[in-house]
Amino acid sequence: MVRMPKRLLYPLLGAALLMPVSTSWALELHGRTSTQYLWFNNIFNDKKQAEFAQYLQFSLSDIDPDKKLSLHGYGRISQDVMNGEGFGERLFYLYADYRDLFNKVDIRAGRQFVNYAAGSALIDGGMVDLKNVGPVAFSVMGGRNVYYGIDGELTHAGDTVFGAAAYLTGYPATDAEISYFVKRDNDGIAREQIGAMFRHYLFGGLKLYGNTRFDMASENFDEILAGAKYFVNENLVLTGEWFQSYPTFDYTSIYSVFAVDRYQEGSFRADYTINHMFAVRGAYKYQDFGENTEGHVFEAGLKIRPIETLMLDFGYDRRHGYAGDLDGFTVDAQYDMTPNLQLAGGMAYDVYKKDSMTGDTNAQSYWLGTRYRLNKTMSVDARVQDNINVGHFRHDWSGRVAFNYDF
């Protein structure tokens, strides 16, 4: 297995405490460090686990006289101190971004998240955009495909992705893209897809949007989304969507040769802000699993702000039909006790039934949290949660304490 470049990650995270010193340069440096202590029950060995984690996220700009080059990074190291899992690390991204080369080219190199209509990936590689050459701009990207399992990176040698896109530019009310995405592994081409997206504003209050992915090997649309959003006024938004998917698998997997059913769903949602104190929402989704099998999902919600510093959010969800039943609600509260002190808490209560052979079971979670801002750059977070009626723990306590420094 190929691992991430640790020689880059560790010095970066280790330098977190030196960041305040470096901000005196002419360079623009912004970001956040977060030092955290987390505890939870490890479901795999039924033992309590506690870890220290150090996050660093930064953006460094104004490096060159023309201010075209910037560096961006985000990573985490962690150390288990109770359960023997040891050291962990994850580099979310670390890339250099050079913009407006000859006023036409943007270049991004390093670990980065790339996202085309045809596919998205975390890559160790590069992305180049060609722009200002007319109403259509172009993009190409490629590199090592990075993906994670529960505890770490699972990428194998030979895992790569490449893509190209052409997209509309310069139209204030219209976005459109057509793109190509190919993923390879050791056995050959694992995915090859063409994608398209479209969004357009009409009449000042209507938005049409959609995207699709077409699988080249099975010659099927593995996704189609079409939606419309109508802004009746600034307080009322109506949304309707239709979505269908045809599950596809890596071509190098035996599962890619099996017949599958198409899935479709139609959704409608309304969001209405009654006044400064009340906002309501409601939604319904119809699910069609094929062969006359269906599901129905409902959601209703209410947000209340009785005073400026207190916000309450109530949500109710109900689903029934194929795949099981779920009936539950959530309550979240957030109170700004002082400008620097925030208190929050909430709960979720769900009654669920996975299939006709199982009875109703309930899952509950309760949480409390607080955030205290020490000054403009430093804050402390604390959060604790208890899950009840889970399979492995009668009470599943977890939590975290974080010290955050913004620079």
Partner: protein, 243 residues
Amino acid sequence: MKKVFFICALLIYGLLIFNQQQSRAEKMSHKDFAKMELKDCNSCHKEQGIPLTHDNDWAGRHHQNTDWMGEHRALAGKAGTNCIECHSQSFCNDCHTGGGVDAALRTPNFKRNYMPKNHRSDFISIHPIKAKDNQQSCIRCHNQKFCSDCHARFPKGSLRIKSHNPAGPNNQIYAASNWSIDHSTEARRNLQSCQTCHPSGDVCIKCHSSGKTRPHPRNWKAGNFKDRTNGKVCVKCHLPGTY
């Protein structure tokens, strides 16, 4: 299919021409407004007749539950999108890959990774229901190996699956009377769940290899798969030279 393509292309082209007539102004940068609360964006957008990208999130502090609507997917999927003007990539990462440098107080974590809003309640218990809803939703953030990596750590037979009951010493063998009906229906609707516990497909091949029950769909494009994998996926069931 060609007709659908043609109609879509014609529709898009017509809308583009219409829009081009409406305005030739450049799309403006939003970098200077990145720190504003969403509710304050309304003042400009309403005057110019352009609806908000992020809707009327009245409190300006919580984005919509993206479990419900796929709109943000359509916009963020565009190469060169202007999300980057206000959001760093960590904003995407914190939901899609589990980072937590700026997690909201309401955001829980699974082990050291933070979970987005749509992983509600005790998600480990209710995820089988969610995973059957729309199979594409899981693989947007999780490689399929994420599922296998987790399920492989549980002893075989410890998970409860409808069609695997009730026969067998560990309740994990299909009942003979329901075999042909249940397993094919379940597999067609949610083949990814099979892959989760049987990543190599060894149990499928026992009955679906060459000369046995044909697993392929009606419009099966064998050549496409053969060409892309150099026949490696074919020889899992077929003898070389027989496919």
